[in-house]
Amino acid sequence: MDIFSGLLSGFQVIFQPVNFLYCFLGVFVGTLIGVLPGIGPVGAMSILLPTTFGVSPIAGVVMLAGIYYGAMYGGSTTSILVNIPGEAASVITCLDGYQMARKGRAGPALGMAALGSFIGGTFSIIALMFLAYPLSEAAVKFGPPEYFSLMCMGLVVVTYLARGSLSKALVMAILGLILGVVGTDPISGKLRFTLGFPDLADGIDLVPLAMGLFGISEVLTNIEKPIKRMIFQTKIQHLLPTREDWKNSVGPIVRGSFTGFFLGILPGGGSILSSFVSYSMEKKISKHPEKFGTGIIEGIAGPETANNAATGGAFVPLLALGIPPNIVMALLFGALLVHGVYPGPMLIKQHPEIFWGTIASMYVGNAMLLVLNLPLIGLWVKLLKVPYRILFPLILLFTLIGSYTINNKTFDVLVMICFGLVGYILRKFQYEEAPLILAFILGPILEQAFRQSLIMSNGSLAIFVSRPIAFVALALSAALLASTVIGIFRQARKRVAEIE
């Protein structure tokens, strides 16, 4: 199947009423949670995971993906109007967006955010299509050793790039791996770390874990202090940017599309990083860097394009190689596994409808989002006025219902609440959850790939060195870990010297 007939079949899939509806639901919920501060795309995806189990895998993936890129659109609205980012990838949009709103130019700011998002999103889908297809053709030759080492590299890089302390990120990754061990050992059939709970024999479910860590603990973090919000009182008019605005934005949009897409591919990259990189890059090459932060359109066009371009980039390693580069993709990965679909280079052969359907859904979803976010912007602004004290009981109720419906067991609800509390305390001590979830999802697959590799080589570890791709990936991850250890060692020596 070549790219164009593939894409055509993808559009046939997405225009089936059920899939179309789920795509719309996804981007709608995405915009909604993007607009509402206090819950981000990861939280919303975790909470809605159980609803995807009853439908086909394609409808589920299309919806979850829609939440992700939909949130990138919605997030800018609150940044511009309220100076509170709806989700983390829109933090940087506050700088110039809110200033533009104060100058009475909220309309063009919102318009450029939506249009830039659309351009970046569409560019990244085209690039994804042309990159993922040949890449998966090449990756078909990959065996367990390659997978093992590439996943190791992904895990190491995500841990390395985590904000704050590296050792804390390592602790989280190890904890994730340990949590992945819980349950019945696939080889010996022995129970591991079930603490006497028969419900844990099948291991910990991804859904209560993710819901607790990202749903419940997020609500607890938001509610601990009184929230005050001021909505910028302004009439939103002239949504379409002027010719002058376009002239200033073309450069940032083009550069944002490329940076966003390529940063999205990298493990640990993603939308948040690319919006920051785009902003600082624009500021650096600008003729008038001092104007950034005073409300200029370049400060919105670049980052808003980049964070959407990153969404498409992130799908490349997931769809072509089966390696989730960030936490959002890890959740999609988990959702596919629940359906018995194993993401990887064989996905395109075994489930072409999922591969092409997802790609086609992103074209359709981005077009829906443009409609949702330009003419209907007033509706979202009204929603901003819903206070959090009304919102959070509803979010909590959804998590309570959702966690129960996985297996119809109250045990899962309790597991979720436990992880919610643990997650809250971890957040307080500035531990990041992303390495934990990624390690939890990848752990069992890593173990399996490791054991299969050893079977292939009759128990010789040399197989990881003799195969070039495996060797390079493992060497890179080892180098990354070593460089940090050496860095810490050097600093420690300096400190010892100071004390002496």
């Binding site: 904890l175 061990v181 010996s188 009304i390 609440i417």
Partner: protein, 164 residues
């Protein structure tokens, strides 16, 4: 003022590090009892044993590094507390409501449990009159019931209200 940092660590990181060390040791002991096997024929305990020891090593480094901060900083400088300004009462109410929900769910059924859950949270956190909380909870429960049970055909416990 913000306290001193070292590799992104602060003084308060000592306590979680201690917990990780204990957890790591417990994992190691439990895995050892499960039989480790050898590298060529790994037993069920080998992988968790390695993970447990890694956890101990990494958290030991956190523990030692954050402990050195106690020596270096003069007693006058304190860290801005992470627990400052938190309304513990609010947190406690939510946690109690959350834990009560699964415990009551099977006995009282979804309709009553969800209603109580929402009513408590709405009336505690919203300063308006109690009948607002009553109306809002009734409305939300009926909408979610219609959506999940009637439309999506999700099974939720009915408790002693057998008629539905």
């Amino acid at each position: 003022m913000a306290g001193k940092e070292i590799y992104g660590l602060k003084k308060r990181d000592v306590i979680p590090a201690l917990i990780w060390i204990i957890l790591g040791l417990a994992v190691m002991i439990a895995s050892y009892q499960m039989s480790l096997g050898t590298l060529h024929t790994p037993g069920p305990g080998l992988l968790p044993f390695l993970l447990g020891s890694l956890l101990v090593i990494v958290s030991l480094s956190i523990f030692i590094n954050s402990l050195t901060l106690f020596k270096k900083t003069s007693p006058g400088t304190s860290e801005t507390g992470i627990w400052a300004g938190i309304e513990f009462k609010n947190l406690l109410i939510i946690v109690v409501a959350l834990v009560a929900y699964p415990l009551l769910l099977e006995k009282l059924g979804f309709l009553i449990t969800a209603f109580l859950f929402l009513f408590v949270l709405f009336s505690v956190f919203d300063s308006r009159r109690w009948f607002f909380a009553l109306g809002a909870s009734l409305l939300t429960v009926s909408i979610t019931y219609t959506l999940f049970v009637l439309v999506l055909q999700v099974e939720l416990p009915s408790g002693f209200l057998r008629f539905w």
